[in-house]
Amino acid sequence: MQNLIATQVDDRKQAFGLTETQRELLPLAFGSFLDSVATATGRGTFYNSREEQAAAVEAAHHDLFDIDRDVYTAALMLPGVTDYSRQIGVRRLLQTTRDGGILPAEFEAAAMTLLVRGLPTQRMLKLFGMLRRDRVNNARTRRLILSEILGAGGLEFWAVKYREKLRVAMTHAWGRRTASILRSVLAKSPDERTEKETQIVRQNVTRFVRDDAAGRVEQCVRFVLGDETGATLGRLAAYRDAKSDFDRGAVLPPETMEGLRSRYHKDRTSAEVLELTKSQLTTGQKIAVQRKAEQSGVEVEFDPAKYDAVRLYVYTFEMGMTDEIRLALRNKAETAAAGLPVQFERVGVLIDASQSMIGHDTQARRPIATALALRDLLSATADDAVAITSDGRAIDSYELVEPSGDTSLAAGLVQLLKSDPDVVFVLSDGYENAPAGRFGETVAAVRRIGIHTPIHQFTPVFAAESQGVRTLSDSVVAMPVSKPEAIGLGLLKALIESDVERGVAALFGMTKVAGYLPAA
């Protein structure tokens, strides 16, 4: 397994000044944390409710944070960490005062900015909403919110699409009184403002933006705060005008225009909105609206190459496989496989296709979609690959597998081993019931026979009740993975378990914060 992943770490040990206690506690806490952040999404799973998931995730975050906040911060930056985990990580960092840590304070500030910028817009705004809900409103928080919103290149688009969320976030940062004052002051042209008013605007708005963008940002802020008069920016004016003139909404995001339609143009249909605004669909929306577009008779083109493999599989379960999607999946798998430092001659992949791999209603089929994307990647690392499902069916790459029934993986494992692979990957949520324990028993029997083919388990589901991922066998390490490109997390977990100092060095190496590392 360790050969699978390239890290940027050399063999020299870095001096991180970890205490004995930290060294002792880190492996367990880090393992549990990785299991959580790589798979937890803040939604329920087939097995656990949303609340159970949230409680278990909080516990995993708390444990690692308590050991060292810089290790915690760096871990949040690892590739493959879910957006949800990053959201709650940033909230935790902001709501606690920095006291200690093994890296300089600048590291945390830089890391936090990177983490927030890496979030999709709606998740960034959700994070700001979480900060408001939890009453986190210190100087760092205010600066982060305002700089990320006001300094954003797409603020005009955000203003019409996320108007209320922006208003809430900015009002949280400014305070209601300042927000109210700003609304009044921004209604005046810069020439009409008093010195004090100019200072208020500079202090709260323009210091976060480039000089050449000040006018545009001021207009957006006015709009977000509820003042639409005098808006000249294209989308802001279109929003105002579309209330009376439906066709003016062509430059608005579809959901914004849909909101205006339902209020001001009840005689128009949702299909007309989709037709009018289809050029404004985001990449994510283009795939999400395919079903609706098909039903409405509107053609919305999307390019499969722009989506990750898991998303494509989720889509394909709903809409069906096409040659174009199959080609995109192939390209993605082969590109990702080429990035791995090893090639196998022969790989065996065993896919748990039981009922539970459907996942929770709120993220239906995500576990099986992740497993299928992993199958493609792992198969692409080999000259020859054999993939079978838990019920013994041989399946080709880029083929759908519909989950159903109970979980019995032992026979499949033996079947694969008989094809003499270099390595076997088991893609499963770790719940075995027909019967429980047979897989582990079979692995033990295989070893007694004298077959030592490496067997690895990848798990796309966080199990709240076990505070991590479920293992099928004591002698097979289960590694969390939410998307194929995140399989490096498994290595890191194993590395920290075997050598804490090297593992921490690898962690900082993988998160590209080398500039903050102490000298080797």
Binding site: F46, N48, A411, N433
Partner: protein, 348 residues
Amino acid sequence: MFRKRKKNTSTRIEVREVLRGCEAGRLQSVGYMQVIPLVSDLNDDRFVSPVQCDADVYTTSYGTLGFLNSSESVMIVPCHAGYVVKQHAQDHAMAHAGVVAAAGDRRYDTAACIQASQGGFIKKGSYRMLILPHALREHALQKRGEKNYQKLWDDISVFNQRLGVTGQGHLEYFLKAFKKELDEFVAEFECVPGQVGAIVLVDDRVVGIERAPSHEYWLSIWPSLIRECYGSLAIEAAKANGDRAPDRSPRVQLPVEIASLDELESLIAEIASQEDERARSTVRDLLDEPLDLLFEETVADVSIDTATSEHFTGQVIRDGDKIVYASLPATSAFVKSQAWTRAEPFAI
């Protein structure tokens, strides 16, 4: 054709009638619990559960539990369905099964409070359904005609005490104390395609037969059955074994000496085949058991009967002669007395 019957009229059938049209699926086994799925092509979609139709549940007085069925299908309220709510309201459970006509609203004044010393009524709304723990179901059924909301308090107290839970008459204390274990039961067992029922075994003993009208109905009630009803019994089994964690290894184990993958493969297949036969045999052993049905009422053209036999006591719901729903937990006497009757263990 269904004939009108009078209350307390009795009929005798056999368990095979309950299982008509079903086949035993592959046995699932985790720790103390085993489940034999009952699979059928017969699917009666005319009936829905409160979970399926998102029924509004409420209480109007202590001991009166109401169900508002806004669907266009007849709603079968599973035998001993209960509701533990996060409100200042007394948790309640049914003492029997119920049937609510399509678009109907029905109140049962024979319900039981399962949370002593808590006032307040449950507001109309959709809540998570549970099925009473196995140990309470026989008591509840015996008292199904009593209009006394306190009727289960003593039984709950004894049940809690047996499991080391303090809290007289408060079922929620048990649920809280064993939340993790109960959640795991839901996690461990999966419904299989076409499943409409199950024979449940705990610690090698048959502890219940469950049958639903359709696969969708089954999917909707299974988490409640496996969690609170039968899961509680597995917890009792663990307690009886000195709180020993259940052995997670398979009940029929592979031999230590295996020479090759071919041999291993055939052993796994052979054990699986024996386990399948064991499941079928377990079902077969139950088929001839006489079941006395005591007619309770007819609603929306289906009848509710209380079923008793040497080993089981529960209720069945019939459309004419066809059983569309059955919930037959084993009697406590049977659970205690059972010597495991399954096929001989696998031997090399």
